[in-house]
C-alpha cells in the first residue's frame, strides 16, 4: 500500500492533442479517490498513465516515494480492474485470479491459499473451476476484483468497473467495493462517469473536464461548494438549476425568479470578489419548497407555472419553465453536450424537489420559495463560483 503523487502530469499525443494538462494530486495511503467527468475528459488517460499503460509526456508520477514514469506496469505493483473485466477466457476463475501470482513466481500452494481467501471474500468459492464464459455479469465483475485483490498490490486502479452491470447489481457491487476497499485499506483510484458512484464511493473526488482538473474535494464539499458552473452542473442528480441574472448593489440579484436579496454571508464573499453585473445563479432542486410549508425562514418566493408533477413518495418533483434567457456558458454547453440534453424550450427549465406535502398540481401556478442562503453565484463570463467556500 502506498501513496501516489501526480506532479504536473501532462499527456500529449503524438498528433498534438492534449489529453491531460498539468494534473496535480497527492493521494494518501489508503485513500479512495474518484476521477469523474464526461467522456473524453482525460480521466481514463490519467488512470492509464498511473497504470503504466500509457506514457507520461511531462511531469512526474510517484508511487510510494519512487518516480515510476519509466517503469513498465509489471514493475509498479498495482492492480487494475477493467470496464470489460478483461478475464482470460481460456483460464478458469481460479487460474484467472491466480495469474498475477503465477507470473510473479509464487509457489502453487501459496497461490491456492490466496486465491481461496479472495474467492471466500467475494463469494466465488464454488465457481473457481468454471470458465468466465459460464459466469453471470456480476460474477465476472467479482472475478476481476479478485484478480486485483490476490496479489495485495500497492494500489487498485478501477476503470468504470460497474458500468457493464444492470442498475440493481451496480448498487449492490458499489457497496461491496466500498467495503472491500475499507477492509483492505488499499489506495484506490477509481474512474467513472457516473456522479452517483463518485458521490457515494470516494473519500475525495476529482472532477475533470477537457484534460483539466476542475476541482478536488470530498463529495460533500463538491456538492455544497462547487468551484465553477461545470462542477455545479455535473455533481448532483437531478442537477442544479441555473438562472442568468444581474447582481445589483446592496446584495440583490435579479433573475427570472424575480428580485432576491442575498444573505449577508453570501453578500460578503461577493464583495470580496469585487463583482457586480452579469452572473449566473445556481439553485439545487432541494433548495426549493412550497412557500406555504416554509413559514418565515429567510428566502425568496416566486410564482411557478407547474408543467409536470412526479410524486416519488418521499418527495415531489415539480418541473416548470420560467420565461427569460437561458444561462449560457462554455461550461454549461459542454455539460449539455455530454448528457445529450440540447433541447431548449424557450425559457429556463427548472426542476424542484419539494416536500411530499407540497400543494402543487400540474397546469396550476404554485407559489414556491427558495433558500437564498444556499444559492450559488457564478461569474457569467468565467463560470467561477463567486461565493467563497466556508470550510
Amino acid at each position: 500500500m502506498a501513496e501516489i503523487v501526480l506532479d504536473h502530469v501532462v499527456k500529449r499525443y503524438p498528433d498534438g492533442a492534449l489529453a491531460v494538462d498539468d494534473f496535480n494530486l497527492e493521494i494518501a495511503d489508503g485513500e479512495f479517490i474518484i476521477l469523474v467527468g464526461p467522456s473524453g475528459c482525460g480521466k481514463s488517460t490519467t488512470l492509464n498513465m498511473v497504470a503504466g499503460l500509457e506514457d507520461i509526456t511531462a511531469g512526474k508520477l510517484i508511487i510510494d516515494g519512487q518516480v515510476v514514469n519509466d517503469k513498465a506496469p509489471k514493475d509498479r505493483d498495482i492492480a487494475m480492474v477493467f470496464q470489460s473485466y478483461a478475464l482470460y477466457p481460456h483460464m478458469t476463475v481460479g487460474d484467472n485470479m491466480g495469474f498475477p501470482l503465477r507470473l510473479a513466481g509464487v509457489d502453487k500452494e501459496t497461490i491456492r491459499k490466496k486465491v481461496g481467501e479472495a474467492a471466500e471474500l467475494l463469494e466465488l468459492s464454488q465457481h473457481l473451476d468454471r470458465k468466465p464464459a459460464n459466469l453471470s455479469g456480476g460474477q465476472r465483475q467479482r472475478v476481476a476484483m479478485g484478480r486485483a485483490i490476490v496479489r495485495n498490490p500497492k494500489a487498485f486502479l478501477m476503470d468504470e468497473p460497474l458500468s457493464n452491470l444492470d442498475a440493481k447489481l451496480r448498487v449492490q457491487m458499489r457497496t461491496q467495493i466500498s467495503r472491500i476497499q475499507k477492509n483492505l485499506g488499499t489506495t484506490t483510484l477509481y474512474v467513472t462517469h457516473d456522479q452517483t458512484e463518485a458521490m457515494t464511493l470516494g473519500d475525495r473526488v476529482v472532477v475533470m473536464r477537457a484534460g483539466i482538473v476542475q476541482q478536488v474535494g470530498t463529495p460533500a464539499h463538491l456538492y455544497a461548494h462547487p468551484a465553477n458552473l461545470f462542477v455545479a452542473g455535473f455533481i448532483g442528480s437531478p442537477s442544479m438549476n441555473f438562472f442568468p441574472g444581474q447582481l445589483r448593489g446592496g446584495g440583490t440579484v435579479v433573475t427570472a425568479l424575480g428580485e432576491a436579496r442575498l444573505p449577508d454571508r453570501v453578500r460578503q464573499s461577493l464583495d470580496g470578489a469585487g463583482s457586480t453585473g452579469e452572473v449566473i445563479i445556481g439553485i439545487r432542486p432541494e433548495h426549493f419548497e412550497d412557500a406555504s410549508l416554509v413559514g418565515d425562514k429567510p428566502g425568496a418566493t416566486f410564482d411557478a407555472p407547474i408543467d409536470i408533477v412526479e410524486a416519488m413518495g418521499s418527495d415531489v418533483y415539480a418541473y416548470f419553465t420560467m420565461k427569460g434567457d437561458v444561462a449560457h456558458s462554455q461550461d454549461l454547453d459542454d455539460l449539455a453536450k455530454d448528457t445529450g440534453n440540447e433541447l431548449h424550450s424557450g425559457g429556463v427549465d427548472v426542476t424542484a424537489r419539494l416536500d411530499a406535502a407540497a400543494q402543487v398540481q400540474r397546469g396550476r401556478t404554485a407559489r414556491l420559495w427558495y433558500d437564498t442562503s444556499k444559492v450559488q453565484v457564478f461569474d457569467a463570463a468565467s463560470g467561477k463560483n463567486l461565493v467563497a467556500a466556508v470550510r
Binding site: L53, A72, K74, M80, Q83, A86, Y88, A104
Partner: protein, 277 residues
C-alpha cells in the same frame, strides 16, 4: 403460409442442387476416370461401367509417384509449420505492437502476395543452383514459406485484432512482460485462428505447380502436381490417363477431408482477413 414455405424450401433445394452439381461434376468425372479399366477408358461415359482399381495399383507401385507423394506431404507440412510460426509472430506484432517500420512491412507483405511467381522463377533458379538448393526440399520449402507468409499474416492479424485489447492490458497489469502476454494470454486465444490459417497455408502449398515444375529436375523434390505432368505412358504421345486420374484423386483426398471437417473454420479464415479493409 405453409405451402409457401414449402415452395421456398423446394426452390432452395433446387438452387442447392445446382451448386452441388457445379462443385462436384468435374471431381466425380476424374474419380470415375481413375476407376475405369483399360477396356472402358475410352468409352466416353461419365461414369465407369466396370469399376476397377487398376490405375491405383499402377501408381502405388510406381516409385516416382510414391516419392512425389512423400515430397508433397513433407514439403507442405514443413513449409506450413514454419510459415505459421513466423506468420503468427509477425501478425501479432503488426496487429498489436507499436514499432517503427510497421507500415512498410504490411506493404511488403501485400506486394509479395500480388507477386507474379513467374517473375521469380529465373532468379530463384539461378540463386538456388548457385547455393545448391535446386531440386532439394529446402529449395521448394523456402519459396513456399515466402508466398504463404502474406496469407498467414493477413488472416492471423485479423484474428488477433478480434482479441480484446483489455486482455493484454490486464496481462501487463498482472505483471506479464510483453512476451509473456503474447505467449500465455494471446497465443492460446489465437489458436483457432492459427489452426485455420494453417489449413489455408497448407492448401496453397499443396496447390503449387509453377515452382514445383521449375525448381526441381528429378524426383528428389518433385511434388505430385509436377510429377503428374511428367507421367509418361506407353507411347510418348499419349499421357497415361488412368494413372494421372488416380494420382489426382489421391492428392485430392486430404484436401476434401480438410474441407469436410473444417468447412466453418476455412470460411471464417478466408473471409476474416479480406473484408475488414
Amino acid at each position: 403460409m405453409q405451402p409457401e414455405t414449402r415452395n421456398r424450401k423446394l426452390m432452395w433445394w433446387g438452387v442447392n442442387t445446382v451448386v452441388l452439381l457445379y462443385a462436384f461434376v468435374p471431381v466425380v468425372w476424374i474419380v470415375s476416370l481413375s476407376l475405369k479399366d483399360d477396356a472402358t477408358l475410352n468409352d466416353g461415359n461419365y461414369l465407369p461401367t466396370s469399376p476397377s482399381t487398376e490405375s491405383y495399383s499402377a501408381i502405388f507401385s510406381n516409385s516416382d509417384f510414391l516419392r512425389a507423394l512423400a515430397n508433397s506431404i513433407g514439403i507442405c507440412i514443413i513449409a506450413t509449420l514454419i510459415a505459421i510460426v513466423f506468420g503468427t509472430m509477425a501478425a501479432y506484432a503488426i496487429a498489436r505492437l507499436d514499432f517503427p517500420g510497421k507500415k512498410t512491412i504490411v506493404a511488403t507483405a501485400l506486394l509479395v502476395s500480388m507477386f507474379p511467381q513467374i517473375a521469380l522463377v529465373t532468379p530463384l533458379f539461378k540463386i538456388e543452383t548457385a547455393l545448391g538448393l535446386f531440386d532439394t526440399w529446402p529449395g521448394l520449402i523456402i519459396p513456399y514459406i515466402a508466398f504463404a507468409l502474406p496469407l498467414a499474416i493477413y488472416t492471423l492479424s485479423a484474428f488477433f485484432r478480434e482479441i480484446p485489447w483489455d486482455l493484454e492490458k490486464a496481462a501487463k497489469m498482472d505483471g506479464a512482460t510483453p512476451y509473456q502476454a503474447f505467449r500465455r494470454v494471446i497465443t492460446p486465444l489465437a489458436m483457432p485462428g492459427v489452426f485455420t490459417t494453417a489449413i489455408l497455408v497448407f492448401i496453397s502449398c499443396w496447390n503449387d505447380f509453377l515452382f514445383a515444375l521449375s525448381l526441381t529436375s528429378t524426383s528428389a523434390a518433385r511434388t505430385v502436381p509436377a510429377a503428374m505432368s511428367y507421367f509418361t505412358g506407353a507411347t510418348t504421345f499419349e499421357k497415361p490417363t488412368g494413372p494421372i486420374a488416380a494420382a489426382a484423386v489421391v492428392i485430392t483426398i486430404p484436401i476434401v477431408i480438410f474441407v469436410l471437417v473444417f468447412q466453418r473454420r476455412i470460411v471464417a479464415g478466408l473471409t476474416s482477413g479480406a473484408v475488414k479493409g
